[in-house]
């Protein structure tokens, strides 16, 4: 006599419900309230007519900040958990990686220690930001120092398209460098014209394309033709 194979119990609530249906419902309700608020008040009138929904949208905006803060917290905890697990499992033996992980994790607790006494407006946290974060953040931009390599690599007169891009780049750079403008002032006006006229034409065309694309996407979503990321993940 063979033992019956254990059957896996179906979850009480499917992933589809809590990952897609419930969030979509919440987002739809919140969006509807914001839209209703827009149409029920008129700030243009004198005196301005305030929508009865304005306190609700104000409260929702506040809750948006609260949820955002918790999302950040969730992200940080997840990162810490990942880093701790990496050190624990030692999938890599590289000292630089493990050391970096430990330093990163220790930094989170150090910053927490700095923030907790005075809050985000406390002198300790402000000093931390002004003298550490500011310079570390500024230093990160030095990573851009090799970016001009792309100009050397790609600006070649190999085709009409690349020559057009090359010419545009030259005209903008001539405007950006004051030494060239000092030699011949019209470089300034030419560069500004490139940004003000051809660039504007392209940006407006792109905007029109976004707008039509967004409307098509929204209509497809309304008639359930657009699966969305969660649906695609579950497929």
């Amino acid at each position: 006599m063979t033992e019956p194979t254990p059957t896996k119990l179906a979850p009480a609530v499917s992933r589809r419900v809590y990952q897609r249906q419930i969030p979509l419902f919440i987002v739809s309700v919140v969006a509807a309230i914001f839209m209703a608020e827009y149409f029920t008040g008129n700030p243009e009138l004198t005196p301005p007519v305030k929508s009865p929904l304005t306190p609700v949208t104000a409260e929702l905006s506040l809750w948006g900040t609260i949820i955002y803060a918790f999302t950040l917290l969730f992200g940080y905890v997840g990162l810490l958990r990942y880093q701790a697990r990496r050190v624990q499992q030692r999938k890599t033996t590289k000292l630089a990686v493990l050391g970096g992980t430990c330093i990163g994790a220790a930094a989170v607790f150090s910053i927490l220690g700095i923030v907790l006494p005075g809050g985000i407006t406390g002198s300790q946290f402000r000093m931390w930001y002004t003298y550490i974060v500011a310079f570390a953040g500024g230093g990160m931009y030095t990573a851009w120092v090799h970016h001009p390599y792309n100009s050397y690599r790609y600006f070649r007169l190999t085709s009409i398209e690349s020559a057009t891009m090359f010419l545009t780049w030259i005209l903008i750079v001539l405007r950006e460098l004051s030494m060239f403008v000092a030699i011949w002032e019209p470089f300034y006006a030419i560069g500004t014209w490139v940004e003000g006229v051809p660039n504007t034409a392209v940006q407006r065309a792109a905007l029109a394309a976004y707008a039509v694309g967004s409307m098509v996407l929204a209509l497809r979503a309304l008639v359930w033709k657009e699966p969305g990321l969660v649906e695609m993940e579950m497929a």
């Binding site: 390599y149 950006e176 003000g196």
Partner: protein, 281 residues
């Protein structure tokens, strides 16, 4: 090997480019090259917009920049703040990036307007805490400033004299925006100047606001060049004037390198040889 052969063999790696540009940037710390600088019409527009406001007008600054970026803009921001205070304007600093409250607080500490102008917090300027939601947050603040109940330091908004007559974006004469991404600039344009008709200035890059320049945006500081021009125009000189020297040297070097790269490619093509350039990485 002749000159043409040398030119044909000219190659550069991204590492060499990094060394070249950073060396030239460092050089400007030690050697100052006085190059005349034209102050362009867009920077002049920015200056004039602040200049023509009557004293007591309220300026709202929508800050979307991260703190790291602030370090490259600090002196230009200081020039804007000093120019505003010279004109007797009041400033409200809104924070739409998680870093922005610290940025705004650090900027005002750097400017030290209390000492320079005898300014009083709450009466002459106010800093608000981070409000999440990006475009929704901007829209909410614009329609009702009381969405934020307290300022960054926890003071009730009703106790701040500056905010007494600022109920919505309609009570703001001029808005300024800076951002780390052009999408934030578009959000700001849609929700503040386009909706409420305020005069508007941008301190990111002109290309971002060019399509609506003169319609919704009336002045811009176009990156480092714009900052340097504005610092010279207002007389509040800062690091951006030195940065312009670095840019001049780096730009010239890049021009030469790009030119040599094209010559190398053209000679090889004439000689029907394949040009191989090391990819990035």
């Amino acid at each position: 090997m002749g000159l043409v052969d040398r030119l044909e063999k000219f190659r550069m790696t991204h590492r060499q480019m990094a060394i070249l540009t950073s060396s030239l940037a460092l050089l400007t710390i030690f050697i100052s090259i006085p190059i005349p600088m034209l102050i362009g019409p867009i920077t002049r527009d920015f200056y004039n917009e602040i200049q023509k406001l009557p004293p007591g007008s309220v300026v709202a600054w929508a800050q979307n920049c991260a703190f790291g970026a602030y370090m490259t803009k600090r002196d230009a921001y200081r020039a804007v703040i000093y120019h505003s205070f010279d004109r007797g304007l009041k400033t409200i600093l809104y924070s739409f990036d998680p870093d922005a409250p610290q940025l705004n607080a650090a900027l005002m500490a750097y400017c030290n307007v209390e000492k320079k102008y005898g300014a009083v917090y709450g009466r002459d300027y106010v800093i608000f805490p981070f409000l999440a939601g990006e475009e929704t947050a901007m829209a909410a603040v614009a329609s009702d400033t009381r969405v934020l109940k307290t300022d960054l330091f926890g003071n009730d908004i009703e106790t701040l004299p500056l905010m007494a007559n600022v109920r919505s974006m309609k009570d703001i004469a001029l808005t300024i925006n800076d951002a780390g991404s052009f999408t934030f600039v578009e959000m700001w344009i849609r929700q503040w100047p386009a909706k409420y008709g305020n005069r508007a200035l941008n301190t990111m890059v002109f290309a971002t606001v060019a399509p609506v320049y003169g319609v919704y945006v009336h002045g811009a500081l176009d990156g480092v060049r714009g900052y340097a021009e504005y610092e010279r125009l207002t007389g509040y000189l800062g690091v951006d004037l030195i940065s312009m020297n670095a840019r001049n040297l780096q730009g010239l070097a890049v021009f030469i390198v790009v030119g040599l790269g094209n010559m190398s490619w053209a000679i090889a093509r004439y000689r029907k040889r394949e040009v191989k350039v090391r990819p990035l990485g």
